[in-house]
Symmetry: C2
Subunit: 373 residues, 2 copies
């Protein structure tokens, strides 16, 4: 409850400009208030806080006591303004409720905390325009790093503007991180943390083929309006595995679909209605797999007795489905941790690809006689 303004100075130049006078109790305590109470200068208080300059023990004690008594809280904006890092990383994703995104978020948060950073989260709902706007906002915030998660757009003007941001952030001492999406180009200063999308799809398709499946439906290929790199890579792995096994695949079994539960469900119903022949379904994500499972079950098709089912992502619930879902594990948490670590420790390699591997559970079996249709 100390007056925040020192009145020792003569009445001549005082009060003249004091916007403080209005609200009687708007008491924000500044470093100078602490200084006044401790009987030292603001400089000394600052030094006590930072601890990087010798301050006599007795002085330090007085200052600390004054801080406590006044309930002093540092103003990060003032600190940031005078050149210090903001100690903040920004994290941009499609949707917090995406089960894998949440785990990336956890990894980011974990590592950010470990490195003494706070964490901003922004969602884009898959809108590239909003993503660009959000990145711009992060430039205003002077974030230490801006982490973009999830498959990016391949649109040219989008890539160009994103490259611009990468350069701008770089010049400002910050960093653009692409997490789970491919680089923007060799000359663009970014940190890239990918995982082996194609390899996982290749491994899973190989697993299905080696179990004897010859007609595998892939649900979740690219739609004309969504050319996300994640999809492209997963489809490529699917194709490459067929080539390796010398097994041709039926293009009619490669079904474009978004990555939601409802999309898997709808696609499968359509597939069944069309009378397509298949012994296994490879869903491009576990969410899609859940939809596929529901549609199959509804049609009286048993999994895995009649049709095998594989997913992608290894979301936490994959193991709790009935049957437990065979899927591709993606190191989501590690993805987030790595993104932050690399962005803040620039001496490390700035492009890594994390491995994926298949997790065999109960939803895949060799095909029986009773092939669908």
């Amino acid at each position: 409850m100390l007056s925040p303004v020192d009145h020792r100075e003569g009445p001549d130049l005082s009060r003249r400009v004091s916007p403080r006078e209005a609200g009687a109790d708007d008491e924000r305590v500044t470093i100078r208030d602490v200084a006044a109470r401790a009987g030292v200068s603001a400089t000394t208080v600052s030094r006590v806080i930072k601890g990087d300059y010798p301050v006599a023990q007795s002085t330090r004690t007085r200052v600390l006591r004054a801080m406590r008594e006044l309930d002093y809280v540092l103003n990060v904006h003032a600190r940031a303004l005078s050149g210090a890092s903001t100690k903040m990383v920004a994290f941009v994703l499609d949707d917090v409720t995406g089960p894998s995104f949440a785990y990336v978020a956890k990894g980011v948060e974990q590592q950010a905390t470990a490195e003494g950073r706070l964490c901003m989260v922004c969602t884009t709902h898959g809108d590239p325009a909003r993503e660009l706007a959000v990145v711009e906002a992060m430039r205003e915030q002077r974030a230490d790093a801006v982490i973009l998660v999830g498959g990016g757009s391949l649109d040219d003007t989008y890539r160009e503007r994103m490259s611009h941001f990468a350069h701008a952030l770089d010049k400002a001492g910050s960093r653009l991180v692409l997490c789970g999406r491919p680089p923007l180009g060799d000359d663009v200063p970014t940190t890239v943390v990918e995982y082996d999308n194609e390899g996982g799809a290749y491994a899973m398709t190989s697993h299905l083929l080696s179990q004897g499946h010859r007609r595998i439906a892939l649900v979740g290929a690219s739609t004309p309006d969504d050319l996300s790199t994640t999809k492209l890579d997963r489809v490529r792995g699917f194709e490459r595995a067929h080539e390796s096994f010398g097994v041709p695949y039926d293009p009619d079994l490669v079904i474009p679909a978004y990555f939601g539960r409802a999309d898997g469900y709808a696609a499968t119903r359509r597939l069944i209605a069309l009378g397509a022949e298949f012994t296994a379904v490879f869903a491009a994500t576990d969410m899609v797999a859940i939809g596929v499972l529901a549609a199959l079950r509804e049609a009286g098709i048993r999994v895995p007795e009649d049709v095998s089912l594989a997913g992608y992502d290894d979301i936490p619930f994959a193991a709790d489905l009935t049957p437990a879902l065979t899927t591709v594990h993606v190191p989501t948490e590690e993805l987030g941790r790595t993104a932050v670590r690399l962005a803040l420790n620039r001496e490390e390699r700035q492009h890594v690809v994390l491995g994926t591997h298949i997790v065999v559970r109960d939803s895949v079996r060799p095909p029986g006689r009773n092939m669908v249709r």
Copy 2:
């Protein structure tokens, strides 16, 4: 690639105080650089940005062009320092990967965006000390609102320090929001958004009782070291329903457990090993229910033929379990949205309780003859 500094000005008063000279390419563009390029004062540029003061159209155009050419980015810290709101809300939760938390987060993010705010996320991993530290950090950030999600601690010194923060934030024009946890006291300036934990538990227990169940195991009661209010309320609903029905409940069937999948699993195995008699299990959360389900299945007990199972929270996967889980719906997204809305629009009521309701699916049936054991 435009030179960020305008050199037209005479050499008379320039360069005098220019710490910029050192690093050749550390080009941060300020409002004054824009002003120089547009041939106006910094004040005018500021007015063009804010748009709350008349600026001649021709001047505005010149300024906007200069901003574009220099790739000017506003500095939010400078703005925040000179009194403006930070346009940020902070969001503090246990764990981003908790399925219900993610939905609260989504609601918070949604509403924050709608109100032109950015969103900080911090996790505490259930540690009250860390929660206090995080709230302190948010005070430093001058966030417009600090939203605490999830059952809080009942510890006295914790409550006292949290009350202190509430008062401090209030004085600073900010707001502490308790989301899904009870008020700290009448004199503490907080916004409280709860949901009817007890009512949901009451409704679900009533549902089970009305189906004829008389021996219902409650998995997920309070442990001595975790007296979270969420648990307490759910147990109370369970008890109150029994009273209403005039059915005594067996205290041995009220099992303390944490809220994880593994906890439900372990508790159920213990229950079975002990030879407890029950026809239904009410899991205190859906995650617990998943563990319970796994343990029952492992023991050869069918759900719902042999034992009925009910959950709490209505997480997105509840409908995809086999059998689809009967559970209590919690309006998580609305919880998040409401929290932000009330905190930023202070004229509304600052304490609301959202409703919960049961969602009947396939995991509950009237008890058959073959009761366990």
